[in-house]
């Protein structure tokens, strides 16, 4: 009952022009960038992050969350129509989705992807809402050692699941941590590692890192690849409704994908991607068992289960990723790291206290997410042809628009042109990292997590009277560290589990290397 009252209060708080416009803008931008191959939610959220500073915190976060969820809706479009995945999380969708297009069922595939996304997001936001209070209560008992464990879990666990080698991920992590230590030291108020540059006393700005590593670097990759023209199949409104059979066969995969996605979304790593693979292989296995049933299209020839399941999974994973970000204050993915950055700049520190200290914001956010989900369904079903039209926007115009927004965003942070220079430097670094196969997400995560990690190290040492072994006397912290070790070894399990995993179809975009 408590939840219901809070939720209604949340709806009451955000039913005004500001937040609703923010949701709508976020949903539209998200659907657009999701549809564009090679652009994921990370770069879009990074580029628009500075704009949220002028908004009230709830609207700002809702706009970013709208982009995040919207991109997870929209990323199936290019996969299904062109066999070119919109981002890494929709690589799997291309397999059955494009096969459906070849069968002339493109409309139904798009509709089922949208409905699947809707069902899964509803499950995920519901789960977020229900777990929020108990999770916060549990996390309130955490102190230094536990947060140290979770921060290491986020960074090392990511290394276990990211595509790169452990060494490379750790190098990217070290770089992100190093960047974050520049500027004022939180505990002593002393400026450090500024190399005599006054500009660096305030530290390296999160938007500069996020927009540089993702936005600018992404533009350089887009430019380098050059423009490819493709034949876009036309999708008319009357092609959209799935047949009764298709609907019947995709209902259960949507729910299964939703639950699977949420659970995987709560753990670190490129979970949206992992979740789609897990859902695909689950549905494929189940389908083989039922292959003699009538009216089922086998996998490989455009099975609806292979579209509905993974598309549900990547949306639910986005919802799941909100749990550690909001309730522990430790983001596990690049988009949620940017989301958290927006909150911090507004002076709101996500963590176990969020739900009590910022109850209006939290419940407004939950209510806003429900609205965003519905808005996205409405946008993506009848207006799908509008979003597919963005696939026709010339690349060069798109590049210019992204660059102009990125430069203005960096400049407006502090009205400083040095931030624009820093942005370029981070862009070149991000480009080089992609070329070296160093995961940019790990750097961004480390940059955001660094202050939490440093504080946790201090607290642990103080609590233990200078003895690091104190950490091992805390059962929860030890448990988290054991899980971290297991996740770090996950590639071994993964190789055994996904030995038959589908090969990525089409030209995987740059982000396929690291998820998100």
């Amino acid at each position: 009952m408590d939840i219901l009252t809070n939720l209604l209060q949340g709806f009451a708080n955000i039913l005004s022009l500001g937040p609703l416009t923010a949701i709508l803008v976020g949903a539209i931008v998200g659907s657009l960038v999701g549809a564009l191959p090679g652009l994921g939610p990370g770069p879009a959220m990074a580029v628009l992050l500075p704009i949220t500073f002028g908004m009230d915190p709830t609207s700002g976060v809702l706009m970013l969350a709208g982009i995040y969820f919207g991109a997870m809706y929209g990323n199936s479009t290019a996969s299904i129509l062109l066999n070119v995945p919109g981002d890494a999380a929709s690589v799997v969708t291309a397999i059955e989705g494009h096969a459906m297009t070849k069968r002339g069922r493109a409309g139904a595939a798009l509709a089922l992807a949208a409905i699947g996304s809707f069902v899964a997001s509803t499950i995920a936001v519901g789960a977020l809402m229900v777990t929020a209070v108990p999770m916060s209560r549990l996390a309130l008992q955490f102190s230094g050692p536990e947060f140290l464990g979770i921060a290491l879990f986020a960074l090392i666990g990511f290394a276990g699941l990211a595509g790169s080698t452990f060494l490379k991920t750790m190098m990217a992590v070290a770089f992100g941590l190093a960047l974050a230590t520049i500027g004022f030291h939180e505990m002593t108020g002393q400026p450090r590692l500024t190399f005599g540059q006054f500009h660096l006393v305030q530290g390296v700005q999160l938007p500069v890192v996020a927009v540089g590593l993702f936005g600018v670097a992404e533009v350089m990759l887009l430019v380098e690849r050059g423009g490819q023209k493709s034949n876009l199949p036309a999708v008319r409104l009357r092609d959209l409704p799935p047949t009764k059979n298709e609907l019947r066969h995709s209902g259960a995969p949507m729910v299964r994908g939703g639950v699977l996605g949420f659970i995987l979304g709560v753990i670190p790593g490129p979970t949206a991607v992992t979740a789609t693979y897990a859902s695909y292989s689950l549905e494929e296995r189940l389908s083989r068992r039922r292959r003699h049933q009538e009216g089922r299209t086998p996998f490989g020839r455009g099975a609806v289960e292979g579209v509905a399941g993974p598309e549900a999974a990547n949306n639910a994973a986005a919802g799941g990723a909100m749990v550690p970000t909001l309730l522990l204050g430790i983001p596990f993915t690049a988009p949620t790291a940017i989301l958290m950055g927006s909150l911090i700049i507004h002076g709101i520190i996500p963590g176990p206290n969020l739900i009590t200290a910022e109850a209006d914001l939290f419940w407004g956010l939950i209510a806003g997410l429900y609205i965003a989900i519905v808005v996205l369904l409405i946008l993506n079903l009848p207006l799908i042809s509008v979003f597919t039209a963005v696939l026709r926007i010339p690349r060069d115009i798109l590049v210019v628009a992204i660059m102009a927004t990125a430069i203005i965003g960096a400049y407006t942070l502090r009205n400083s042109l040095l931030d624009v220079f820093s942005l370029l430097i981070m862009g070149v670094v991000g480009y080089a990292m992609v070329k070296l196969d160093l995961p940019r997400t790990a750097t961004l995560l480390a940059f955001v997590i660094a202050p939490i990690l440093e504080r946790a190290v201090f607290q642990t040492l103080r609590l233990g009277g200078g003895d690091p072994r104190f950490l091992f006397t805390r059962p929860i912290a030890v448990g988290i560290l054991i899980v971290t070790a297991l996740v770090a070894l996950a590639p071994l399990f993964q190789r055994l589990l996904f030995r038959r995993s589908p090969a990525p179809a089409g030209g995987a975009p740059s982000d396929a290397r690291e998820g998100d």
């Binding site: 190399f195 590049v399 203005i408 042109l417 080089a432 040492l461």
Partner: protein, 144 residues
Amino acid sequence: MLIAYLVVLCVATVYLIATLQLPWGSLQHPGPGFFPSLVGALFLGTALTAIVQRLRGRRPHRREGLSQPPDPRRILAVVVPMIAYPALVDVLGHIVMAGLLGMSVRILGARTWLQSLLVAVGCGLGTYLLFEVLLGVRLPRGLL
């Protein structure tokens, strides 16, 4: 690719040396240099390991490196306006510099001069109208 890791090594070394100038404190009362020096050690350690691996002739990671050599003109078409913007905007103002950015479609999209000019005007005036007039952001003005 070895060169790239040598650059990383240099950055990590400079960083670690800088962190060692800061007060380290004690385990009980860690100073501002405590955490950064650990980070610096990790940074340097990973860079050294990567270089040693490379020198031992271990095969590069399969996805690493350039699949097809990028056209340097296309990269420069993006990078040059980005350097020019902060360097010259104090003199020429936002509209001109954003216009220069728009001109990059001449190379990126192989457009005609007229088309590029239209994109440039659109980019300069469009961003001005959107951010300065509509959103109330103060863009750099320049002397003009």
